[in-house]
Amino acid sequence: MGFKYIGKDIPRPDAVAKVTGRVLFLDDIKLPGLLRAAILRPDYAHAKIISIDTSRAEKCEGVIKVVTGKGCKLVYGDNIRDLTPIAVDKVNYIGQPVAAVIAETLPQARRAVKKIKVEYEPLPVYIDARAALAGDAVLIHENSGEFWHLPGIAPIAGTNIANRYILKKGDIEKGFEEADVVVEGEFNYPFGSCSALEPHGAIVWFHDDNTIEAWSSSICPFIIREELARVYGLPVCDVRVHIPELGGCFGYKSDITVEQTIAYIAGQVPGRPVKWVATRKEDFLSTLIGHGMRTQIKIGARRDGKLTTLKTRILHSTGTSADTGVHVLIAATHNSTGSYEFPNCYLEGNSIYTNTPPVGAFRGYGHQESQLAVERMMDILARKLDMDPFELREKNYLGPGKVTSLGETLHKTNGDMKECADIVRGIVFSKPKEISEDEKYYYGRGFAALMKTPKGATFSSKSCYLKFNIDGSVSINMGGAEVGQGLRNVVRQVAAEALQIAPERIRVYTEIDTQFSPWEWQTIGSMFTTQGGRAIVRAADKAIRMLKETASQVLRVGIDLLDYDGDYVFLKSDPAARVPVPELGRGYTFDDGRTIGEVVHTTADARLPRQSNPDENGQGTMGITYTFGAQACELRIEKETGKIIIDHFVSAFDVGQVINPVQIRGQVVGGVMMGIGASLHEELKFTEEGKAVNPSFRKYRFPTIKDAPGKQTVEFVETPGEIGPFGARGIGEHPVVGVAPAILNAIYDAIGVDFYEIPVTKEKIKEALDRGKE
């Protein structure tokens, strides 16, 4: 299909301001009377607070106020209300706020916070879900049965189970009876950190007129606004939230992370704004972390390779609260089928409270965790069946007419799994392996298919305000957060196409401000292009209709006889009879000065159509827009050290329609790198006592340029979808999903060792090689 502005490399509108350092991130904001806060974190991951002595801190220079949680009754959470802004009489994880100092300057606040003395009585610590589930485990939340929660989510009182989600499809017993072969395994995707380069931060200002104004490095201004209003008993309109530029997100700046804590602190000094920005250590331990998922998987198949059944049980160490992790787990559970149709499923996901920071969204949102399991199992099953792994997969791919675990029947418009797989296969596996071993290296190749759904919410709208200016240029205002992914340019290109107006004449919003921006649930789930784009198309259609209505009065014809091309509204039968668009944007002015018609401002929103809550079988319209893809890698393992070198990484996704080729490649290349980091290096580690082992960049070790693959190949299939604008689907998270299984499958190909957990460090490889030699 011929597009004018879609599918073109149009430079992003925010690049100049970023490359000159002019954009304002949270920490760059200065306000009159701005105070700074520093927060005390506990010495123990699980302990009763016996006493807090703030007297020495209060005497320090520049200190305005020392804050503790004594008597704090505030609770929050938009899924399960199991969060408090500060520890009250007990600490539950090592990053929790225990006390805070507000001072004139940051060095003063930091000096004083060290002077606070806290006495604790330690309690048993549970880092892993399995330990927290033991019969004699102490309860992390004694009153979990009383927590408010959304329908369908519920803590099991008297246990550390924050939620259990069960999905049933078909008859699992029958499925196993029909199976000739059964394979099973247990896979672990450990804790990780999104580690955006910009740390979290927030500014909160309780104004004298009893309104609240806040700034946050967050992607969900409206959730923050609604939760602050609820907690402080204000009408929502009296809370204003600004989102400045964001220095990366990758998931962990979604939901509420630090804002309620900073509000609680700032609430002690009404009239003055208080700023807090995380140290890197705090960013690792006091915001949201990722993963922490253990997947037990059992698959049955017939001898001919047809899958009969899937049983998964996921244990999620969800951390001190489940509010931000519960949907990650639900997504991991119902997407644990990967890209395959299983006629019978029993999928169980357990969110378990642990003494670790809360788990939240991490690019991929549960998919990479459980699909590591299914994609490794497909290779293992193929071996057991003595079948080509591609053939096995092909027999079972989801596609038109196939039914997902959720019970949704797929259509051609959901994308083409096999074509993605064929592209990747053609690039990496078309020839037999040239070499499997030489003096220095073992060589391996591995493949993984993948599927992703957005995991939205039923009310997850995105909205668009569109305004024609007097010269025919257009301003677009939305609530979607630009975190670096290039969202603003997608908005601009989609609007340009929908309005047939050059992108240079379309200005897209920068800051999000709940006072001016249209409502948006939050910018998550790789949904913005799909839903936000649909909202833009709807707003543009309304605007064009308004332009035509005014023009129909000017030209004195019925509006059905008119057409629009971005420059003019004209008579279809006689294009010379026309009105220039700039003359219509504010209504039309006749020569005598009289005006008619409306100012062209429109609004529209879009959500995923017919999204539902799960039914009693855990099924429902909950996937809606599926995206398929395939990834593969070619790697080398250094015999001497065990070091893994990725020579070539290949990805193909069916994205429906590419909007900006440079940007979409950037998304994939960056996402793959993130997946490589998780597969080979990254793990946020805690000691048995719950203390963090590596909360710094040096120790956590996310990839540098030296870890980048020798080459990345990125291909796209474009089977248009029915929901997104011009057929487009989301892509932000997908590139991480198949990386770990592709690498682990390649490791097996290279050295014949099956790994079941990541990261596969060079030490682990070395150990496996040495074991092999014995």
């Binding site: 490359v19 940051l106 955006a196 790198m673 980048a708």
Partner: protein, 160 residues
């Protein structure tokens, strides 16, 4: 005791009061309101804070303010000439190397110091200096391409 020091920032002489252990990043961001220089870590590992001091790329998060007297500091705010971007900035944009942009100022300054020292720096030298910078968004491919493009733009600027 606060002490007064004078140094040059982006061509302008500035005098600031410093206390004992302050670092250059604090002076730039908090005292001179030059917020283009970013802080990304606590352990001098990310490179977001890199500025140029007397032609050398330095991490401003570890550079002691005390040592600033008489030095010439160049920050990201001093790179473009009005709306005329520096070729390095232009190159990073053209290569699609700017996503969230948080790592970008440090990388621009790092490349500036490198090409100032050696206009025809080799691919490996470029990779080596870039390995001092963390970027969570791009996967480095576009940044590396941008650096190569910057080298090209700079040599064209000289030839012209």
């Amino acid at each position: 005791m606060p002490e007064k020091i004078t140094f040059t920032v982006n061509g302008t002489s500035r005098t600031v009061e410093i206390e004992g252990s302050e670092k250059l990043i604090y002076i730039l961001r908090e005292k001179l309101n030059l917020t283009g220089t970013k802080r990304g870590c606590d352990d001098a590992s990310c490179g977001a804070c890199v500025v140029v001091v007397d032609d050398e790329a330095v991490k401003s998060c570890t550079f002691p303010a005390k040592k600033l007297a008489g030095k010439e500091v160049l920050t990201i705010e001093g790179m473009a000439n009005g709306t005329n971007l520096h070729p390095i900035q232009r190159a990073l944009i053209d290569a699609g190397a700017v996503q969230c942009g948080y790592c970008t100022p440090g990388i621009v300054m790092e490349l500036f110091a490198l090409f100032h020292r050696k206009r025809d720096a080799t691919d490996d030298e470029i990779k080596e200096v870039l390995s001092r910078h963390l970027c969570r968004c791009t996967g480095y491919e576009a940044i590396y391409d941008g650096a190569l493009l910057a080298r090209k733009y700079l040599s064209e600027a000289v030839d012209r």
